[in-house]
Subunit: 190 residues, 2 copies
């Protein structure tokens, strides 16, 4: 998607260690008007798939997922990283290894909000190693819901997550796919 | 706001320990179309205040804050509970005591996204003890931004947060204010 690639070129900052800082518009400060354009593109891609639920993971995916749910006219569910007092009862659960935070954590979704009647589109801001997306796919599998696919804002195509998940037969649509990047050499898209 | 009170009466569940479960529409599954109506009400209340930034805290406030930012046509910033590799540089920081999780944590916002040029509306899903809101107010104070007020979906008016923060001279607008609630006796609004 040209709009997103242009924005990444303009406002993204590449740091050592394969870090792409896009926190001025995507995952800390959120340009909500811009998100609406991304959401319209996800809707265009998946509108014929009968999506009736958006699933994401806290926290930085929630913004884009929210705008996408608005386009589809369906609710959003976000997987939580901690079990709080306020989620009683049964939950679907899986494990996610965070490379950013260097630890493994449980994610949960209440069984009340994900089940066989759901046709689920996963939404997230980044796809790199695929750990978060794998965790969400496992929740969908447990629940008996149908997985329509995954809509990703930025895929680091030089990391293994995209190939891994497409190799499982999951439709993954990434609005920007980065082939390579470096602090000196800038960003090349696929 | 009648629409929200009706929804809480219909779908909210009161549990022991002053817990109000509204996770079917507000803070786990998110009814985004409904959020849009809440956001319009926040816009009606604060539209003459020159708001140019929405500030919330991860994770459950992000959805309503996102829809509110859409109404105001301004960006949203969410305070993070963990410092990640991807936020380098200087940050504003304060401490929040979570009664839900039973611990104290740091929250941060990058100095790049909150400063003296900003007129900030705080948005959150709940106000009870006021800990999260106090943490956000402290970030605004540090940054030199102007605090326009706080828009809250559900205030537990029988807990001290609302009085505390209004007592500091902050304009707090809560769309539903609960006077009392119990598992047997239902929910009474102010």
């Amino acid at each position: 998607m040209q709009l997103l690639e242009d924005r990444i070129r303009r406002d993204g900052v590449v740091r050592d260690g394969n870090v792409l800082k896009v926190d001025s518009f995507l995952n800390h400060q959120m340009d909500v008007a811009f998100f609406q354009e991304l959401a319209k593109e996800f809707y265009r891609l998946f509108r014929d798939s009968g999506v009736n639920k958006i699933l994401t993971i806290e926290a930085s995916g929630i913004g884009v997922a929210c705008m996408t749910a608005q386009q589809f006219g369906c609710p959003l569910v976000f997987a939580k990283k901690n079990r709080t007092k306020n989620i009683a009862g049964d939950v679907w659960t899986s494990k996610v290894e965070s490379f950013t935070h260097g630890r493994i954590y449980d994610i949960i979704v209440s069984k009340d909000f994900l089940g066989p009647q759901d046709r689920v589109l996963l939404i997230d801001d980044f796809l790199a190693n695929g750990a978060a997306l794998m965790g969400l796919i496992e929740l969908v599998r447990q629940s008996g819901a149908s997985l329509v696919g995954a809509g990703i804002c930025i895929e680091k195509a030089f990391q293994p997550g995209g190939d891994l998940i497409r190799g499982m037969g999951v439709r993954v649509e990434s609005l920007a796919r980065i082939r390579s990047m470096s602090p000196d050499g800038g960003i090349q898209f696929c």
